[in-house]
Amino acid sequence: MPLLMPVLLASLLFSIGIYGVLARRNAILVLMSVELMLNGVNLNFVAFDVYLRDKLLSGQVFTLFLITVAAAEIGLGLAIVLLVFRNRESSQLDELRDLREEDDPPARDQVADDEQAVAS
């Protein structure tokens, strides 16, 4: 089988994954897109392993590793999403913006107080 087909498929999967990660708002769909990207990578590993006829089958070994890691990751990620949803009744990513900078800079005397606290 020519190398082109699986590589094309892998890049297609990876691109769809990137699109999903960047464009989707739902956290679960983002996680699924991450899975898509990982599987694109897996496909690449297997395809090149076969193409290069690796004696040690390292590509397939890495794929197994990746499947395990992905399973663990999705478990952890789903748990986080579940907790976020329970707390906020939403899992929309663009609403989870607690770590953004305030729009107004902090007042100057506040800065001076902080500096004094640091100095002392």
Binding site: V21, L22, L96, R97, P105
Partner: protein, 616 residues
């Protein structure tokens, strides 16, 4: 030679001990201070006797050598006639002042540091006197300057004392810059900074140009330290210090250090006729100008200060016309009678409570000891025979006459100038001396306080100093002094013409003031209405300096301060403010959406990848 070290170190030890022990046990302050001066005096006297017995004697001791790379500095002391005799004068005055101060400053909270500084000053002066290396001499020279600064500023809570201390420090330092470079020039030219070696090679080792440059630079320091025109302005202001300090530092010893230095390095100065002529001109301007200024002062200490400036000019004039012996002689007699005058004036001030002569008057009966001793001092200052001042001033004028008529080391016009101005100054000196005498001790009492004689610790130093003020004349006039000093100079003599003229002129000055005083006894005998303000402000030299130097410097400091506030500080604050403003832009990107961050990350990766591919 160990005795030389003892003489130098005893006051130093007393200073350190006084500072550490005196603060804890106040009772030890006076004994420590006096003991240091006594040991030093004892050492100096023994040394002087040894020098007198073995004259001419030269003894050098080296402690250690400091390698500097260019040339080596030997820490060495030297004993010879000049050093021996001047050290006695220093030690006598120092002891008198320590004893006197114990009463004058009784109960002063800062007495312990005061006594320590006086001791330290004495040690530094001894170091200058005995130094055999120009750099060792410089150390003593600068320590004296610092002590002078601290002692003038003893009453530092008074604004004028502070100002005078700073002024004295800055003005003398101005001269010391030249002095330092003079030492460099001389040391490099001679290949060593050892005084003994320099004196040995001065005749042939130095070219006339080198000698002229070196001595002119050294003269800067001398002019600053000895308060000669144009750096004389600090001395009258230095009278803000306690009176014993004026006696010790600003009359008898420190200001004489400049003269001593010239006498010490005299062969080098003799090799530079230009310097001698400059010295003669400076001395003449200072001599007459200061004497005229003394004529119009109301503050008794300022009169004495200006007279000190004038008398130091006599010594400088003597050096200029080629007689180091006459200069040293006048230095010694002046040390005695001027210290006496200052201590007597201090005694008057102590009792009356003011420095101003218009507030004194009629003290003759109430203070007989002070009156008698001060009269002796004033007579010596005025140069009346047979007091010491007459003989020493005569030696100076005689040397000038000799140099003017025959070939001296200096051009004959300079010698004539010294002679004429010296004689005129004798008359002016007699006039201001008489004015001081009459206004303080005669006429009606203008003071409100009950006048009494001062305490014994202040009285005895007066009597002790009155003895040399009278006796030094008769002793020194013999040919003893020149051989003692071992200086290449003509013998001292009392010329008939000069002595007759000077006595006549002194009498004229005396008579003029007495006549003016007899007319209106209550008022100031100095009544030249139009001239008076000019003289009182000492020819406005201070105001001139104020215009020329002080105000421009003040303006410059304001400019510097403005630059600091408006440019430097503004730049620093501006950089902080600018960073804050720029940070506002950066904040915009931190809006909390993870996906935006990731997009940025991806874009960055793509740009890097494309860049790597296209550029390699």
């Amino acid at each position: 030679m160990t005795l030389v070290f003892v003489t130098v170190l005893a006051p130093f030890v007393a200073a350190v001990a006084g500072l550490f022990l005196g603060g804890r046990w106040p009772r030890t302050q006076v004994p420590i201070a006096v003991a240091g001066a006594v040991v030093s005096l004892g050492g100096a006297v023994v040394l002087a006797v040894r020098v007198a017995v073995d004259a001419p004697l030269q003894d050098v001791a080296q402690v250690t050598t400091v390698h500097t790379g260019a040339f080596d500095i030997d820490v060495a002391l030297r004993l010879d006639g000049l050093a021996g005799i001047v050290s006695v004068a220093v030690a006598v005055v120092a002891l008198a002042v320590q004893v006197y101060s114990s009463d004058y400053l009784k109960g002063d909270p800062r007495y312990s540091s005061y006594a320590a500084f006086v001791s330290l000053f004495t040690a530094a002066m001894m170091l200058v006197v005995f130094a055999d290396d120009l750099f060792v001499l410089l150390v003593g020279w600068e320590v004296m300057g610092v002590c002078s600064y601290f002692l003038i500023g003893h009453h530092w809570e008074q604004a004028d004392a502070q100002r005078s201390a700073v002024k004295a420090f800055v003005v003398t330092r101005l001269g010391d810059v030249g002095f330092l470079f003079g030492i460099f020039t001389l040391s490099v030219a001679a290949g060593t900074s050892r005084i003994t070696t320099i004196l040995g090679t001065s005749g042939d080792g130095l070219s006339q140009h080198t000698a002229t440059v070196a001595t002119l630079l050294l003269l800067c320091g001398v002019v600053g330290k000895s308060a000669q025109f144009p750096l004389h302005t600090w001395l009258p202001d230095a009278m803000a210090g306690p009176t014993p300090i004026s006696a010790l530092i600003h009359a008898a010893t420190m200001v004489a250090a400049g003269i001593y230095l010239v006498a010490r390095l005299y062969p080098v100065f003799l090799a530079a006729p230009t310097t001698l002529a400059v010295m003669a001109v400076i001395a003449c301007i200072t001599m007459l100008g200061a004497a005229l200024a003394a004529l119009a002062q109301d503050d008794i200490k300022r009169v004495l200060a200006y007279s000190t400036v004038s008398q130091l000019a006599y010594m400088l004039a003597a050096l200029a016309v080629g007689s180091a012996t006459a200069a040293t002689y006048h230095l010694l007699t002046h040390a005695a009678f001027k210290a006496l005058l200052f201590l007597a004036a201090g005694s008057v001030i102590h009792v009356v409570g003011t420095n101003l002569m218009p507030d004194m008057g009629g003290l003759r009966k109430a203070m007989p000891v002070t009156f008698a001793t001060m009269t002796v001092g004033l007579a010596a200052l005025a140069g009346l025979p047979p007091f010491s001042g007459f003989f020493s001033k005569e030696a100076v004028l005689g040397a000038a006459e000799e140099s003017a008529r025959h070939d001296g080391p200096v051009a004959s016009w300079a010698a004539w100038l010294v002679l004429v101005v010296g004689l005129v100054t004798v008359a002016v000196t007699a006039a201001y001396v008489t004015r001081l005498w009459l206004m303080t001790f005669f006429g009606t009492a203008r003071t409100a306080v009950a006048v009494h004689e001062s305490p014994p610790a202040m009285r005895w130093p007066l009597i002790a100093l009155a003895i040399p003020a009278v006796g030094l004349g008769v002793v020194g006039n013999r040919s003893l002094l020149p051989t003692w000093l071992g200086l290449p100079a003509p013998t001292l003599h009392v010329g008939l013409v000069t002595s007759g003229l000077s006595v006549l002129l002194a009498a004229a000055g005396f008579a003029a003031v007495v006549v003016a005083w007899r007319l209106v006894p209550a008022s100031d005998p100095m009544r030249l209405a139009s001239l008076r303000p000019v003289l009182e402000h000492a020819f406005y030299v201070d105001d001139l300096y104020d215009r020329l130097f002080v105000r421009p410097v003040r303006a410059a400091t304001r400019a510097v301060r403005w630059t600091d506030d408006e440019v430097v500080v503004a730049t620093v604050a501006g950089s902080g403010l600018g960073a804050t403003r720029l940070a506002v832009l950066l904040r915009r990107t931190q809006q909390g959406n993870v996906q935006t961050y990731l997009t940025g990350l991806l874009a960055g990766v793509v740009i890097l990848a494309v860049g790597v591919v296209t550029l390699t």
